[in-house]
Amino acid sequence: MEYLYFPGCTLYTKAKNFDQTARDCSLLLGFELKELKNWTCCGATFPLATDNIMALLPPSRILATAREEGTALTTLCAICFNVIKRTNRLIQEDGEKRDKINNFIEKNYQGDLKIIHYLEILKQDIGFSQLKEKMKRPLAGLKAAAYYGCMLLRPFDEMGFDDKEKPALFEDFLRALGAEAAEFPYKIECCGSFQSVGSPDVATECAYRIIGSAIKNGAEAMVSTCPMCTFNIDRKQSDIKQKYLDFKPIPVFYFTQLLGIAMGLDSQALGFEQNAVDPLPLLKEKGLL
């Protein structure tokens, strides 16, 4: 099985560990991520202003060129997933905008590309029970909190990823890996997103509440599917520690890193040097590495 793959700018550099582990794991699981030949940044926000067509051009171009190469496009970054999927829906439904966009980018895209998230591939095409059978190093004893964030889930009628109030896909994934999933109420609350650039203190507070809630519900680690979320809840833990002196950091994994551990990837291949909070002590303590 082959999927066209859109990495997104951050996965190429600051979140290379996310990208690399995803590629390695896909090979072990029997599907290939075929990176798009030409791609640009998706724009990182779906334009909410209805008259902003310029901001629709980058994702539209991605969709159009992907459609020339295949029929299904996958991505890992939740924000890219959201931007691309929402743009796709807009192109399907708004004929006037579709024509304008196609005119400008000189393509003829009609909105018929299938957009699927890597986790959805794991659930629908591979199946979590199949996944379970491929575990070389099940993550027994690890209690991890699946952090969905917002862009994966909302708006529900366009994303259709999982129930927006009580999603379970990510926890099912963790359980397939042999880990214990820690449920916590803040798993669908926003990390602050780009406020880490606009009002960093506010983002710090959001991150503190999310991690605090996870820890309160027994989490030893957090799992994310978005480099924006990961920046806010991993790298910003140092900012949290400055404000809340008794805050105890916990590691944040990309879900493909955990998948990689469970599938027996070498620790060099897991890219932990890009994780802000070092996960090795925890993994060693659990006997997972």
């Binding site: 997104g8 917002c150 920046f231």
Partner: protein, 137 residues
């Protein structure tokens, strides 16, 4: 704090512009406050999103644009997903941003030269691209 209302002041050009950019009907808001109640960053806002909508509907441009509410909005869509009247509040917040950023004064909300050196290296592209979209004119 008294305001005088006339048919020219309520739902004025400012309000209509916000409605146009956001594609939302501000009259539909019955001020239940659900958006504010569920907003993850409302704790830091001057007033909640429902109040800004109220200012806008009444045509109070200065009050509406003078608060930090829509600048702090993270576009997480929690408000939109729970509004009982189906109003896309996140779009209204973005529209207010656009009204300010599109003014001819071209006043950026964040000043790039003011970023500390380490900041530019630490923060991933995804944050900058979305941040610049939301805060630069």
């Amino acid at each position: 704090m008294k305001i005088e209302l006339t048919r020219h002041k309520v739902h004025n050009e400012f309000a209509k512009k916000v409605e146009l950019i956001s594609g939302q009907n501000l009259f539909a808001c019955y001020q239940c406050g659900n958006c504010t109640a569920g907003c993850p960053v409302a704790f830091a806002m001057d007033v909640g999103p429902h109040e800004v909508i109220r200012y806008t509907l009444l045509g109070l441009e200065e009050e509406a644009l003078g608060v930090n509410t829509f600048w702090l909005c993270a576009s997480c869509l929690q408000c939109t997903s729970r509004c009982p009247k189906g109003i896309d509040i996140a779009r209204v917040m973005d529209a207010l941003r656009m009204v300010v950023l599109r003014k001819k004064e071209r006043k950026d909300r964040i000043q790039i030269p003011e970023f500390s050196e380490g900041f530019l290296e630490k923060v991933p592209q995804i944050a900058f691209v979305s941040g610049f979209r939301k805060f630069l004119s």
